[in-house]
Structures are given as C-alpha cells and as structure tokens.
C-alpha cells in the first residue's frame, strides 16, 4: 500500500442501552485504529456486543461516550464512504425489487448520469459473478447468491470502507469458502478497507490482516493480533500451514479465556 494513513479511529467507545428494567452496558471501552486499505476481522464470544460495535462504526447507533472518527472527522450518522453488509440478507435485500433494482437503489440519490449508474451496477454484479441474474428477484436465488447481491450493492456504492456483520453465518460451508475468497479478492482489487465481524475463528484468521479479539460484555479489545500469513491465500494450502494452526489456536485460547473471564481489562477500561 502506498498510502498508509489512518482511516478509522475508535477511542474509548462505550455503549449503554438504557431500559426501564436497568441499564445494560454492551460495550465497556473499545479503542483501536485502522489504516486505509486494511482488512480487519473482529471476533469475540457470542453476545459480546459485536453488532453493537459495528452499528456504532456505521453511524447507525450513537455511542454513549467515546469517539468514532473516519478520515479525521467524527461519525455522527451513516457516511457515504461506508457500506454495510448485514448478516440477514433475506431482510436486507428488498424482495419486490430485482437484483438490479436492489444494487441500483443506493445510487439513486448520487448525482450520476444514467449511463454512469448503469456501469456501476453492471460492474458490481460482474465482480460478484451475478451478471446473469440481474433480472431475477432475490428470493429466486440461493442464500449464497443473495449475499453476493448484498455485496454487489455495497461495492457499487463505491465506499472507502466495507463493514460486514457476520455476513456468512447463514450459508453452508462450501458457499462460505467461495464468499470468503470473494471478499479477499474485492479487497485486493478495489482498494476497499474491510471490517469483518465474525464469530468464526478460522474465518477471521484466514481472511484478516489483523484480528481484534473482543472480551465478553462489557466489551474491550482483549488482543490486537497481526496475522503474519502470506498475502496470497488459498482455502487448502493456507489452512494447512502450521502458522495458521498456531494463530487459530491462539485466538481460540484467547476467546476461551474471555469466556471464563480470566482476561485482564486494560487499566483504561476499568
């Protein structure tokens, strides 16, 4: 990467859900930074506030305290430089629109000529291998293909950063492997930065350049781990590397410690 500038900065992020039956502290104190062009995976035990963190990053939720900064400016609402891929593709794609209509919808409010918009849509659908399905409706496609549509929609939006919330949790293992490779390919070929939230340890190690391990709720960053696997990855050879096994064992241990509550919070968090 020629330009290694900070893209995303999260500092002392805290989120408390207020409710009549008592407040719930979902996120205790999360701080990290992310450079432009990075692919960062976020893993943690279930119920650790991954989705809450992601919504705060995307500007869909206001943090209780702390800062989320994108390119040096605080995030106060959804940003045109961000695109989100949700876990529930069935509820995120609009069934009354065609695949094409779904990909095109976020582009309507951008000041684009019809030809330019069309080009973005066609290009994005080609990038995810769905050029032939443009006129279908999402519900006519398999789960994996539907998630490809959601990815195409995000890519066509031309974001600097792609935020993915357990996007492949609901698809079968083989489709999942294909989609993982698709994300790595899009990341490499389009210089999009990616934040990928997952509960799957293997997936986080295989995909990421960095893995952030979160603690149980109220959440802090338990470990910020650089993944020193070769940049060219392959489902068979990479996963067979001894280093891959070491890393996944390490992350696994960290999460087990998090679950048992043995990890020590940083002084700033407590």
């Amino acid at each position: 990467m020629p330009d290694r500038s900070t893209l995303l900065r999260v500092e002392h992020l805290r989120k408390v859900y207020e409710s009549p039956t008592g407040d719930v502290e979902a996120i205790g104190d999360i701080s990290f930074t992310m450079d432009a062009g990075e692919l960062v995976c976020i893993v943690g035990p279930s119920g650790c506030g991954k989705t809450t963190l992601l919504k705060c990053l995307a500007g869909l939720l206001r943090p209780t305290s702390g800062v989320v900064e994108m390119d040096g400016a605080p995030v106060t609402g959804p940003s045109p430089a961000m695109a989100v891929v949700f876990q529930e593709y069935g509820r995120s794609l609009y069934p009354w629109l065609t695949v094409r209509g779904n990909v095109e919808l976020p582009l309507r409010h951008k000041q684009l000529t019809r030809a330019a918009r069309n080009k973005l849509v066609v290009d994005a659908l080609e990038a995810v291998g769905l050029a032939h399905a443009a006129r279908s409706h999402p519900w006519q496609l398999s789960g994996g293909m539907q998630q490809r549509v959601a990815i195409a929609r995000a890519v066509a939006y031309q974001p600097d950063i792609l935020i993915m919330d357990e996007p492949f949790a609901a698809v079968d293992a083989q489709t999942r492997a294909d989609l993982e490779d698709l994300v790595r390919e899009l990341h490499a070929s389009r210089t999009i930065s990616v934040v990928f939230v997952t509960h799957d340890i293997d997936e986080s190690v295989y995909l990421g350049q960095r893995v952030l391990v979160l603690s149980t709720s109220p959440t802090w960053v338990q470990e910020d781990l650089a993944i020193d696997l070769p940049p060219e990855r392959d489902q068979i050879t990479t996963r067979a590397l001894p280093r891959f096994t070491e890393l996944r064992t390490h992350v696994y241990d960290q999460i087990q410690r998090a679950k048992r509550g043995q990890a020590v919070a940083p002084r700033s968090a407590r």
Partner: protein, 274 residues
C-alpha cells in the same frame, strides 16, 4: 422398452391434460348449472309468483338492462362506485402512511379510528343526506366513509410493520425520504394494503346499493327497489343478478391487479412452500 414407456407416458399425459381442463370447467361451473336446472324445475312446477323460472329472469334481464337503462341506471351506479373506491384508496393509503410513520399521531388517533370504524356506515346516510342533499356527492361520500377504514387501518399496520433490518439498510445507504417511501415503505406494506382494498371493494358495493335505495332517482339500488314496489318480480331478480355480476367482475379485476402488484409476495410464498 423405452418406446413402450414413452407411449404410456404420452397417453397418460394427454389424459391428464384433458381431464385437467375438464375438471377446471366442471368444478366452477358444475354447481351453478345444477342449481339453475333445479330452480327451473321447481319454478315451472310451483305456483309462487315470487320465484319466476330462470328463463323468465334471463328474458327480463335482457329487456331491462340492455338499452337505455344501462346508461340511466348502470353507468351512474358504476361511476359512483368507481369514484368511491378510488377516493377510499387514495385517502386510505395517504392518511394511513402518514399515521403509520408518525408515532405520536398513531397513539393519538388509534382509539378514535377503531371507534369510527365500528360505526355501521349505512347509519351515516341520513346524516349525509342532511348535509349534502340527495346528490351524487352524498353517495360517493357514503361509500368512502365506509370503504376507507379497511384500507386505512391496514395501511397503518403495514407501514408500521416495516422490517427493522430493511429500514437500517436504507439508513446506512443514506436513501432519501421519498425513495424510502416509494421503494421500501409502500411496497413492504402492499400485501396488507391489498388485503384492505379487497375488503373495501365489497363494502363499497354494499354502500352503493344502500345509498341508492335510500335516496336516489337513478342507479341499480334505486331500480331494484322500484321494481319490488311495483311487483315487477322478474325484473327485480334480474337486478339482483346484475349486482352479483358486478361483484364477480370487481373480484376478477382485483385479482388481476393483485397478482401484478404482489407478484414478489406470492413468489416468496411459493418458494417457501416448495
């Protein structure tokens, strides 16, 4: 061997196609035909003058409705019905969308709306007569005052029930307010809205007839009541038959529109069933 099985399969296929067409005609038309025949038999043997046989009614139907009566009575009725239904749809969807999207307005209005809906619409006819006189406007207003409720309440429910993930998606992509209304809120509510329209159609037809029976000098309802008062029994029955046909026509037209508008909805249900 293959040729043999193919031949069997071919005959089986042609037989199933033939029997399928036959079945698709026998079932919907069989019972009405049977009832007509029964009616004819009973009517020719019986002596009651209130139940003329089907042929007499068919004759009366042709004489009564084919000709000037079509312009004088049928068209005005259909025009009132059309205006009333169109008004109910526009008003119901517009008001329902605003109320469904505005939380405090919904809280404020919902008990009141439930009460107004519970009032049987025909009782509004005397009031409307006082306020608007015996006019076409009065009849359209009466139709709207009854037919708007199912559309309004269904639209409110449909708009309110927009899926949270779909809303978050629109928000995260900064989709504008109008685009959200047009591409998310209204399509998401469309199955409920269409269910409301279906109910509204039958309510509108009833109110059209009743308002014309009450206060009118033209229209189907007026004409049927007129025939009854003048002992023109076969003509009266032919009017009822015509009303039934109008109802069937409305249902068929609605079905065609619904299948177009809710193609995605029925498609999903079919996929889920498979």
């Amino acid at each position: 061997m293959t040729a043999y099985t193919e031949r069997i399969a071919a005959t089986a296929r042609s037989r199933t196609v033939g029997s399928r067409i036959a079945a698709s005609l026998v079932y919907p038309l069989g019972l009405p035909t049977l009832l007509l025949v029964l009616w004819g038999l009973v009517a020719t043997r019986g002596t009651s003058k209130f139940f003329p046989d089907p042929l007499t009614i068919a004759e009366a139907f042709r004489e009564t409705w084919v000709g000037p009566a079509f312009v004088e009575d049928v068209l005005p009725s259909l025009a009132r019905l059309g205006l009333g239904v169109a008004g109910s749809i526009v008003l119901g969807i517009a008001a329902g969308t605003v109320i469904g999207l505005t939380h405090w307005l919904r809280e404020l209005l919902e008990p009141l709306l439930e009460f107004l809906r519970a009032i049987p619409p025909p009782v509004l006819i005397p009031v409307a007569m006082l306020l608007l006189g015996i006019t076409d406007t009065m009849k359209v207003v009466v139709i709207v005052s009854g037919a708007v409720w199912p559309i309004l309440l269904n639209t409110i429910e449909g708009v309110r029930g927009t899926d949270s993930v779909m809303k978050e998606t629109a928000e995260s992509f900064r989709v504008s307010w109008w685009e959200r209304l047009w591409f998310l809120v209204l399509p998401a509510a469309s199955p409920r809205i269409m269910a409301g329209v279906r109910q509204a159609l039958s309510v509108a037809l009833i109110l059209m007839v009743i308002s014309e029976m009450f206060a009118s000098s033209s229209g189907l309802g007026y004409r049927i009541a007129y025939f009854q008062r003048n002992y023109l029994i076969a003509e009266m029955w032919s009017g009822i038959l015509l009303l039934g046909l109008v109802g069937v026509f409305l249902a068929v037209a609605f079905g065609l529109v619904e299948r177009r508008v809710l193609r995605w909805y029925h498609g999903i249900r079919e996929v889920n069933r498979a």
